[in-house]
Structures are given as C-alpha cells and as structure tokens.
C-alpha cells in the first residue's frame, strides 16, 4: 500500500469495471479448422435449456433471451444453441450440420458423403453478417442423410445405423480439412460459434427457428482459440451437451470412451461427456438415472442408506463404470431425441457448479439454467427448485417432468 501514499486513489479517476468490449480481442482464424496446437479447453460458462412437454414449438427468441440474460457468465469466446423437433418433415433422416472453411472443404465433405451415405437433401444454413462479429465467417451447411445400405467401415460390416453415422462424423472431423460436423442427430441441429451469445443468435437468426426443446451455452474460457467447432453444445448423434465445469478426471473418462471406439477430436471434457451419455444410454441401454448415477455417484459410505437392491445396483454401477465417474465441478444440460425428446439437467455430486430448474405455471414448459434470472427472463411466474447434487432432473415431451432431481437415485429395484 505504501506505493499509493500521497497519491489518493481518486487521482486515477474512477476505475471502470470491465466492459465486455475491452477484453479480450477475439482471435481470428479459420472457423472450422481446429487450430494446430490447440489443447484442452477449459473455463466457466452459462447454460440454459427449455422444453415443451406438450410438444409445442418454443421460439428461438425465448432461449436466446434466457441465455443472453446471464451476461456475466460469458466473455465473447463461444456460444451456441441446439434445437430439437426442428425438421418434422425429415425426422427419420440424420441431419449432419457442418461448419466449413470454404468451398473446397465443402466439396471434400460432399465427395466423402456421396460414397458412404445417401444424401437426400442438402441446404445452406441461414447465416448473416453481424456488425460486431468480425469475419472470417464459416460456411454452414446441412446434409440430410440415410446411412448406406451396406454399412461397412474399415472391415466392420456389423455396424448399426447410429454407430455408422458416428464413424462418418469422426472421419470428417479428423480427416477432412476445414470441415467440422457440429451435430449429427435426427430432427435436431446445433448452431454455434465464436462470439457472445447474442451475436451467435443474430448470426444464425435463431429467432427464425422453433422447436420442442432448446438447450444453449455461453462460454467464459480461460484460453481463447478462434475456433467455432470448440463452442458448445457438443453434439453426437441426437445427443447435445451444454456443460459448465471442469472435469478433473478427464484422462480417466477419455479412456472409457476411447475403449468403446470414440475418437476424441475436440480435447474438451464436454466431448467426453457427450460420448459417455451415448455409450451408457444408447449402446449399453442403461436407464438415464442409472447412467447419471455412474457419472455422479453417491459415496460408497452413503450406499448403505439405500434399500438393499438399490445398494447392489449402486455398487455394481460404481464398480463397472468407474471410468464414467465425472469428478470435479460440473453442471450439464443434455438434450436427446430418441426415443422421445428429452432434457436432462445434472450437477456433480458435490454440486460445485450452479443449476436451477423450473416449470411454467401451466406445467408445459420445463426450464433449466445456471441462474434463476435466465428462467425469470422468460417466465416471471415459473415454479423453480434446485436439484440435489448428482441427481438428474429429466423432462420429456409427452410425459412432463419424469424426475425432479430431488429423488433417491433409484426406486423399486428388483433383481
């Protein structure tokens, strides 16, 4: 403090709090190309999601308002939205949505897809210039595909349609220069990029879309790659994951998904979380609460508090899926389409990152967000509650809130 003596602080004028425009400079680069040397991405984030359990359309304007309200949680280095129920006329076709550096990378992708799938339709995804968002902008294109009849990949001819699509996506993201597939599910798409949430919303004109489920994410990364592919949501098949947190067990979780054939190209813990959901729920057919327990389990010392059968299941999950345990702080909102459109909201077992959920007064809409202000921004009358640490809130179209996130992990386990 001695350095300030004789220099009253007022002499320096009122120190301004950081205006969003003062930091940081957004790096420019090729939006779809993973920067060489890009390592693990980390940071804080804002997440929000909204589902209409009666299957009504929610406008993009609503989710955009939820997300942008939490302006303290982002610094302009990445934001994104995932919309479900987007293509009612093509709901049985996989929609591969790509960000591309240029026409060349687009040609390369098309050549690859032509060989390995039936492209039933392709179209440019609407984007527009945003005054505050400096170019280069990526070319965003979507392809509706049916996997080829003969789904052979590197000698493996027993692949399911989904596993085959995963292989196609992994190939594009790893091998095709200047192309990155941001989502690959049926009846859904991901819109994301490097900018503030309001900029990305404007860039894609999110308001033009309407869907039964939206999930969204804004970033406050502690490193700053100028790469659009690294923004959230992270999608694989019909899964989309928005994640606020930092997984301290990343190296362990990565091993599990790599053992199951997933290729980690993003180097983010969120990517691993998305693959873990796909592995546990789609491939291993675990019920969502069981998968959530594997990711955010009770302590072994707490398990005796369960009824004996639940305890056995809990122990079996912990033992079998110990590599799926996501250690460290996180809150995630997960979207899924199959078998019905579903939103999952889950926080880590210590609840080190915020998560609040709520319903509209008519019980149609279900919300999840980092902060209550996001929910209040679109519904001042919403009933809100917080989920327990490690306990998933699950809402589904046609079923409502099937799990509030305050219940014990399992109920009525039989052997």
């Amino acid at each position: 403090m001695s350095g300030l003596q004789g220099n009253p602080i007022s002499q320096y004028g009122l120190l301004r709090t950081t205006s969003p425009r003062t930091i940081p400079e957004r790096p420019t680069g090729s939006p779809a190309t993973r920067p060489s040397g890009l390592g693990y991405q980390m940071g804080g984030c804002g997440i929000s999601g909204c589902i209409s359990t009666q299957g009504r359309g929610i406008s993009g304007e609503s989710i955009s308002r939820m997300l942008t309200t939490m302006s303290e949680r982002e610094n302009g280095l990445g934001a994104g939205y995932a919309c479900y129920g987007l293509f009612p006329n093509r709901r049985d076709e996989f929609c591969l949505q790509l960000i591309l550096d240029n026409e060349e990378s687009k040609c390369a992708v098309e050549e690859f897809l032509k060989e390995h799938a039936d492209v039933t339709k392709d179209e440019k995804v609407f984007t527009r210039k945003v005054r505050t968002l400096s170019p280069p902008y990526p070319l965003v294109w979507r392809y509706f595909v049916k996997p080829a009849e003969k789904r052979e990949w590197r000698g493996n001819s027993n692949l399911s349609e989904e596993d085959y699509v995963v292989k196609l996506v992994m190939h594009i993201n790893r091998e095709v220069e200047g192309a990155f597939c941001v989502s690959s599910g049926k009846d859904m798409a991901v819109f994301k990029g490097n900018g503030y949430s309001y900029e990305i919303s404007e860039f894609y004109d999110i308001n033009r879309y309407s869907g039964q489920l939206w999930i969204s994410h804004s970033r406050f990364p502690t490193n700053s790659p100028g790469w659009w592919g690294g923004a959230h949501p992270i999608g694989i098949l019909d899964w989309a994951v928005c994640h606020n947190g930092e997984i301290t067990s990343y190296g362990v979780n990565k091993k599990l998904v790599e053992m199951a054939g997933y290729v980690c190209t993003l180097q983010t813990d969120t990517e691993v979380i998305a693959y873990t959901w796909d592995l546990l729920v789609r491939k291993h057919q675990l019920p969502i609460p069981a998968a959530a327990f594997a990711m955010a389990p009770w302590h072994h010392s707490e398990i005796p508090r369960m009824d004996p059968n639940s305890g056995l299941l809990a122990k079996a999950l912990r033992l079998t899926y110990k590599e799926a345990f996501l250690n460290g702080p996180f809150s995630i909102i997960v979207g899924r389409r199959e078998p019905e459109i579903t939103m999952i909201a889950l926080a880590d077992r210590k609840k080190l990152r915020p998560l609040i959920v709520g319903t509209s007064s008519d019980r149609d809409l279900v919300f999840a967000a980092s902060e209550e202000c996001a929910i209040r921004a679109i519904d001042t009358q919403a009933d809100t509650w917080t989920t327990n640490a490690g306990s998933p809130m699950i809402a589904q179209v046609g079923k409502g809130v099937v799990r509030q996130g305050v219940e014990p992990p399992f109920s009525g386990v039989v052997r």
Binding site: T248, G251, H284, P287, L312, A316, L319, F325
Partner: protein, 513 residues
Amino acid sequence: MSDVALSNGTNKGYRLPERFRPIVDDTSCKRCRRCVTECSYRAIDCVGDHIVATDGCVACGRCAAFCPTGSIEIETIPNQFPPHANFTERIRRGIMSQASTGGVLLSSCGTDVEHPVIFDELLLDAAQVTNPSIDPLREEIETITFLGRRSGKLTVSEKDSFSFISEIGPVIAMDMPLMIGHISLGSVSYNVQKALFTAAKELNIVAGSGEGGLHPDFYVYADHINSEIASGRFGVTSGYLNKVAAVEIKIGQGAKPGHGGHLPGEKVTDLISHTRMIPIGTDALSPYPHHDIYSIEDLQQLVSGLKEATEYRVPIGVKIAATHNVAAVSSGIVRAGADFLTIDGFRGGTGSSPRIIRDHAGMPIEVAVAVVDRRLTEEGLRNRVALCAGGSIRSSADMIKCIALGADVVMTCTAVLIAIGCHVCQQCHRGLCSWGIATQKPELTSRVDPGLAAMRVKNLLSAWNEELKEVLGAMGIDSVESLVGNRDRLRHFGANPRIAEIMGVKHVGEGWG
C-alpha cells in the same frame, strides 16, 4: 554380495577391504556388551576392556540403535581402490569375489544400482481457480479400491421398476489402493508375517502370502491374504486356496525376472518345512518357469483350474515381472481370464537373487504400468481387470504417481519391512538379519514383536493413505478411481523427454489436453 565368503585361506592376500566399521566412543561406552549380543554378523567384539570392530560389518545399524549410551556410529569406509571411473569399486569388488568363489553373486533387497528414478522426475498437478480443490479434513475423499474382475457392461432395464442382472465380481473391496506385496514365510520370520497379516486385516487391505503356502496359524487372517501360486507350488492345497481373499499366480518377480524362488536351506527350519511341505534344510529353489505353463494357453488353463478350485468366489490374478514386452504379455494375460494383473518393476525387493539379474534385467515400473495401461485401453480391456503395480514404491508420492500412470492398486514390500526395522543392508539371503526380519534363527526372530511391528506398518500405510487424500483433494478429485491412469495430472520434469512420450506424460510447461 557376501564379502564374508572370501575369508578362506586359499584366497589369502585377495581379501576385500571392509566397507563399514562401527566406531565406538570409548569415553562414553559402559562396556555393557549389548552391541556384541545384538550383532548377528559378529562385526563387533569385546577385547579386554574395549569394544572393538572386527570384520564383516554390513551397516545394519543394530548395534548403534541398541547402545544404551549412544556411543556407536557406523562409519562408511572410503573407497580403498585407486579411483577409476570405468572399473568402479563396485565392479572390482564383484570381480574379486567371483575370482575367489567361482560362484554366482547373490544379493537381496531391490537393486542398489543408480539408475535414474522416473518417479522423482514426475510432478503432480493441483487445482487453481477454474476448479476448486477439496479439503480432506472437511469432506470425504474416497480411497476404497476394488480388486477383481469387471464386466465392462451392466444390463439394467427400466420398465415399471429397475431390474438388473448382476455381472460383477468376484471382487474384494479394500480401504486403500494399497496392498502389501508377497513376502514369504521363509524369506521372513513367522513374527514378521504375522505382523504384516495383522496390519493388513486391521487396515482392511490385502497382504501377499509369498510363495510357500500359509501357516495354519494364519488362517485367521485368510480373508485379507492374497495367496501366491508360484512355480514350486510349495504348500498349495485346495484347503487353503478356499480360505483366502485372492489367489495370484506368480510368473515372475521384478527383482529376478525369469527366475524362480531362492530360499537357502539354512532358512528351511521345522516351521518352514511344515508350511512349504519340504524337508528341513533343503534349498527351496522353485523352478524358473511353471512346468505346466509353457504358453499363454497353458496359463489360461491354470487360471481356469484355480477358478474351478475356488468355485469362482475369489479373484484370480497373475503377477509378472516388468520386462520389455510387458504390454503384449499383459494383454494376453487379461485375455486368458485373469481377474487382476500385477506388474512388478525391476527395482522390486527380494530375499535372495543373483545380482546379475537383480541389477540388469527388467524395466522400471513407472514405464511398465504406463504402457500396460495404454495397451489394455487400446485393446478395450482396461475396464475388465484390476491393474496392480509394485517394484520399489518408497513413499506415498511414488504410490500416487504410480496410480496416475495407470495402477488401480499399488503394492509395497520393502517400505513395510523398513517400518519394522529393516535398514536395507542387502544381506537377507544370509539368514542372519540382526533385526530379526529375514531370518529363521529363533534368537533373532524373537527380536520382532508382532504387535508393535503391526502397529508400525499400520501407521506407515495409514499415513500414506492420508497423504493420498491430501493430494487428491489438492487436485480437485474426491475419489481415487478418478486418478487411475489420469496422466493429465502428471508432468515430466527430467532429462529425457522420450521417456515422458512413451509414458504418455506431458513435459512441465505444457498445459492440459
């Protein structure tokens, strides 16, 4: 190496210089002769009214530790050979010993050669800002660890209620990711093995039986014993196999890969004879290979046979020494049905080993565990098996780094013997251990109080486990399973980046990912 063997007359003039000498302070010495009684190597004696050093001191420190007036110091005698950087003192001593005896040089404990220690070149991570560290004094940090088979997939369905088909096991749960390695009755005394088993039971971990069966008195500890099936099959009966917590087929030992057990006849007393089911005084030299295992499919048969014999109730493991092809061999062992796999690094301890093997064969556990963990992951097998690793785990830091490199369970032997009194003088094979550990002489074995020794082992391992929690907390991890193979939390800070690359560990200064 036994320098004592050189004292016969034919080698007169070729005597090796002494290496250590007890120095007695004549002014404070009370002439109580306690030191003379304590020294089992006869390296100190009373001549007239003075306590004097004779030959053969091994620096075990027993005399100094028991001198009531603290009058004894052990002096390391400086090198008596003319300096030479290539023909070092060690090399010349070896040559002279072999020229005198014409024999294979024996030694014990882990190798004392100054190979670089990779553990010491690894630095741990800690959480700052973007994730919170966890305070182990205020929050629970789990160190419970499971040893045994895992299915990799669980079948659970949710219709009206959850139903699941249990596919776990056989596994055993331990309170720490630690086990006491295989220290046989024979290499150490009854009292020592009793202390180790008592500690394991009270800590709720397992201790290895070592080769040579299980003394009937120790059946009470059987549920915390990992029993060893070695090539000699000494003392193996289905009766005892069905009492223990786990069974481990010993293919190799880090200190002497490719060799069997070496228990000198002097150590085969009545007690050992009964437990091992061999005649008193015979050398118990177990065969180098198992003579029913000449291939991986033979191993599979023994694994299956043991599973049948134990009715699939206990995990069956396989232990191998870390040698150059360790990753591929490990993969084969998992495919052969092992429920757990133990890798023993080249620095591992031994009660008796040819020095040529101990000092020159095998590979460090740090690299071995990393490449095995990676290979099993690449082959989609890592989540089927528990991986145990040992071979000179000297401290909790080694244990933590070993876990981060890929081990589920870390095995320690020498450290627990040091806790009991071992000074690592490398004379175990002579059966004269002054601390009463690696000996069967009743006047020496009585020097170990099993109760006190058990308490010291418990203290040591509990302290390591507490330190593990401290480090996990600092890393923002609240369960040890989230550290297993998590190389992202390690950085290499050493001279050889190629080692780091092979282990899959980044160099210091490189961030995450």
